[in-house]
Assembly symmetry: D2
Homo-oligomer: 341 residues x 4
């Protein structure tokens, strides 16, 4: 059986695992006060070209989103996001559990538009009853989005400008950031993100780590008193060095880039095959998630050879499905699958 369900089906990239084994019996102090963690932070600051950035390591994505958003918003504020945003759909109300509303805007292939954010904010303060409403207090985007799509540099610049004009932070969920940075025609670099976002996180769980996400705040004062907040959210790992070791490894010798490039290359190989076979692609994704509409008969036949997710309910005659590659996807499996098409 070949697996294309998600990008968190295997453990850690072998180089990451090797370092965890090598350091396993060392004794270090806890909660990220160790030297591995300090070095990992340095490497991330360097990769972002942000020497003064605050960097924090948390364990998982929902936890990271809830803690960061809680840290950025004031009581009466909510977070602007697309309807399809992970925080709006698949986090079991974690954002609301911290007391904040998710304010939704339409999804454009998973993306939010700068001009719609701008209009929302303008209209909000024009409404005479605005003090009875939840104020737009920050913008949440993900890159790649839930649908594998990417912002262009122009789009990101525009969003950043709208946010800075409104004096609210722009936050990027980078759960799959490695696969976004490695996309072929993207003009967005990690340094651009660090320059244009107020806070973002570099995903580890889906990009080579056993677990772990690196929160980056280029201007550290954007996240004041963040350490106790991480603890309060139950997001502080006792053996913090496990996060430091993993991110140090990922940001050494270009491993994070290599992982991204591998997965994207195989995803595009799949995409090319789908197109050549005449399948409909409902989303034009340049990253490691590929969406395709399959006739139900064909889908059922393929499901006997491979695993992949139905994206929404099974249709009457055809169904939208998702194929995901990762650092762990083997080229021979992709090739074997393509032969089945």
């Amino acid at each position: 059986m070949i697996h294309f369900d998600t990008d968190y089906m295997a453990g850690a990239h072998p180089e990451v695992m090797k370092r965890l084994v090598e350091t396993n019996l060392e004794q270090t102090t806890g909660y990220g006060s160790d030297a591995y963690t300090q070095r990992a932070k340095e490497k991330i600051r360097e990769a972002c070209a942000q020497n003064e950035a605050a960097v924090y390591f948390l364990v998982g994505g929902t936890q990271t989103n809830a803690t960061v958003i809680d840290g950025l918003l004031r009581h009466h504020e909510g977070v602007l996001a697309t309807e399809t945003a992970h925080i709006n759909v698949h986090e079991s109300g974690a954002i609301e559990a911290t007391g904040h509303k998710v304010l939704t805007l339409p999804s454009h292939d998973g993306k939010i538009k700068a001009e719609e954010v701008d209009k929302y904010i303008t209209d909000f303060y024009r409404d005479e009853t605005y003090e009875h409403m939840v104020a737009p207090g920050m913008v949440y985007i993900s890159h790649p989005t839930e649908l594998g799509t990417l912002y262009t540099l122009d789009e990101l610049e525009a969003l950043s400008q709208v946010c800075r004009k409104a004096q609210i932070p722009l936050y990027m969920d980078g759960a799959r950031l490695g696969y976004g940075l490695a996309a072929e025609n993207t003009d967005v670099t990690l340094k651009d993100i660090a320059r244009l976002c107020d806070v973002f996180y570099i995903g580890g769980t889906k990009v080579g780590a056993l677990f772990g996400e690196a929160v980056v705040a280029p201007r550290a004062q954007q996240l004041p008193h963040f350490f106790p907040l991480v603890k309060q959210h139950g997001a502080l790992l006792a053996k913090g060095r496990l996060l430091g070791i993993q991110f140090e490894t990922l940001f050494t010798d270009g491993l994070y880039e290599r992982i991204g490039a591998h997965a994207v290359r195989l995803a595009l190989k799949l995409k090319k095959a789908f197109v050549e076979k005449g399948y409909k692609l409902p989303i034009d994704s340049p990253t490691n998630q590929q969406f395709v509409c399959l006739p139900n008969e064909e889908m059922d036949r393929l499901l006997s050879h491979a695993t992949f997710e139905l994206w929404g309910p099974r249709g009457e005659t055809e169904t939208m499905v998702r194929f995901v590659t990762s650092w762990a996807t083997r080229e021979e499996d992709v090739d074997a699958f393509i032969r089945l098409l």
Copy 2:
């Protein structure tokens, strides 16, 4: 100047005020443990034909919604409501502040449809990832709605059935209930509401009281430990008897009905005049809120004689506005205003 802005511009109905004055120097115990409050509860139980109902008195609407919804939902649950619902738009995130998401459905003239609720719940549990999503834990409706419209008895029966099938409570926000019950062609009575809803509140603030809302749970166990929850929400009035006295008065000699009938009659007089003058009515409201589209020039002229709210932003050539009557609206003012049209 004639006022049609809202239904909470004056103090209390004179009969209510009279009772507050008569009892002012009496000394009673606090927090609703007095005899007035007990009698008010009895009268409400009787009006609802629910002898075993639990009745609680709170001060205002947002407070009541937040406390009741917090009391009804479990952690992982949200409340289904229309996009235009008061709890979704005009309560400054009070629901989210208690940790719960408002799950929105389309507004049909301010109303939610039973079949859409049913489909939402069915689709939810069909989604394989539903345990990562906020579960629909109750349904919120208001009667009249934000747009002055009313549910029919059939619609209410259908909503009740859907909720009972799904084993989730149906909650009615009755901030303007008196004006709904007094509508001409409504087939929904207070007893129907008490039979079909699991919890509802009878609005006082907008219907003759200085302030106050009466929460009714026909089956008391639906709101276990509600007293300390009311206290925790800061919604427990020290001089609880003020609420008891007001509701006892409102439910004596048909005052609540008389107040409703007066306001609705004057609202319909306005409506008839608008129609006769050829104005467009975007909403066909049978209650004390009337919506009309006015050419801007006409609107500006009328605003020099009367106050009323723009419903949304000023349009390019015409604007939707709202006229509200209450127990305090005088017929001579309505007549004078009609002459201005």
Copy 3:
């Protein structure tokens, strides 16, 4: 039966009630945007000698404490208070419900000591694990305290100094402030409080109003975005003018002072009688709450003529009880009661 249970057993002071009746049929805009509310704010600013103060009117004490404390604290902070503080004991966890811990210090006749606050803060930051602990983020005091006692000006100056040194706000719960300001030998004035506290509230519910508390922040920026927070807490009264009218009346022609003086004079008359009859006074209170230890037999006899609260459980042979006077207490009742001793 003569009542000494609490100071919220009657309605409003007749002058307040008179104004509510006189203005009852006026139509004004809601939520405190009316002229009465503006005038009440002006009068309070004047009484406090703080021209720039922000003033907000809320309905009740627990609600006010929860909203203010939520507005003052950051996520990782708690509020320092005595073990016996109202917020720690009798608010059904309203503070914790907003996500914050009450950090307790010993009670010295209901008061907190500046040096103990100072030591707590110093020790906290000396603890190497302090980032895993709830930081002391503000100080809560009440004046009078739960036990009727008062801070001296020196004590208040010291507390203010400690707080300013630590850069955390000092907040005073003034539920019974009128009875504190009217105490015979107090050297603390309203202007002192406004000078030394960062936020405080002037109690109306227990001091002549039907309900209502006036929150004062001499430096308005201490409570940024407080209006939507009040709304979010369900603490915004629709007919806000009711609060404005009441506080305008209380702060006109010295009514607030007269109410305080009346209640305190009668309380001290009671106290003198208790002392003369040889009863033990466990607390030396100069305000409208008097505590006395009564032999159980004597207590039972008095309870057949008057109502008053047992302070804690009934003792084996004697019991501590509380007598409270208010603006509504009549001298002839006090005299009649004294004759019963």
Copy 4:
């Protein structure tokens, strides 16, 4: 340098690490739906002699405490614990952040007394104002406690009885449970705990795992809808199998017991040495944490050879310090350290 700071300074026990490496490239479904997790649950149910128990795996201790306590309490309830409890001191207010108060009782060497719990509950409901207070809704204990001490079976039976009489759950924080079960003279077994507690967790982070805690509810209905709550708390690990693999290994061939026995044996060797050298032991701990009072001069000398924590501030002439052993502590290091005494 020899390390006795804490029991989470090294990675995972080599047998655990070996299994993580062996399974690293396997592809499994996420969120604990894999076969490893199912087998780990089975092994834990067996070890607890509770075939119907619900078992959940979370990542860390604070997270586990906050999620479980949030799941067990109703809005108006708090959790009873000793003043020194981890949830009261060292979790950055994580419990309060979920809206609940920690109600404190005196610490008896880190333990709570059944009779004091009983008295608290009895007194609470005798207080006429109890509906204005936070109700005792559950009891939290840890075993071993923060001070390394253990409950006897009699003490645990008594606590369980008091809780069942009051119909509130008894919850045990077992962060160091393995070291408690391995203590020499303890008469408490894992089966006893499963019989007497309503919910408890078996600590992995400090007892051989890289991270991970296993929550056990012998009667599954005690934690209804716990999966989405775990997700909402950000405590759901994407690669859930990592927890399954680790706990399966810990509960195979008695590894969990062997780890406990090893650490306790070395801790008692240290203890014996301290006693023989005439040092004062402020706490008589039978587990892997040993407390000793050292003259400052002696402490400073030892700190140049080994690391260990000062327990509270440095004293004037002597200081209380803590030595902790774990599965990772080597006997030769203990022997070398003893020679230094």
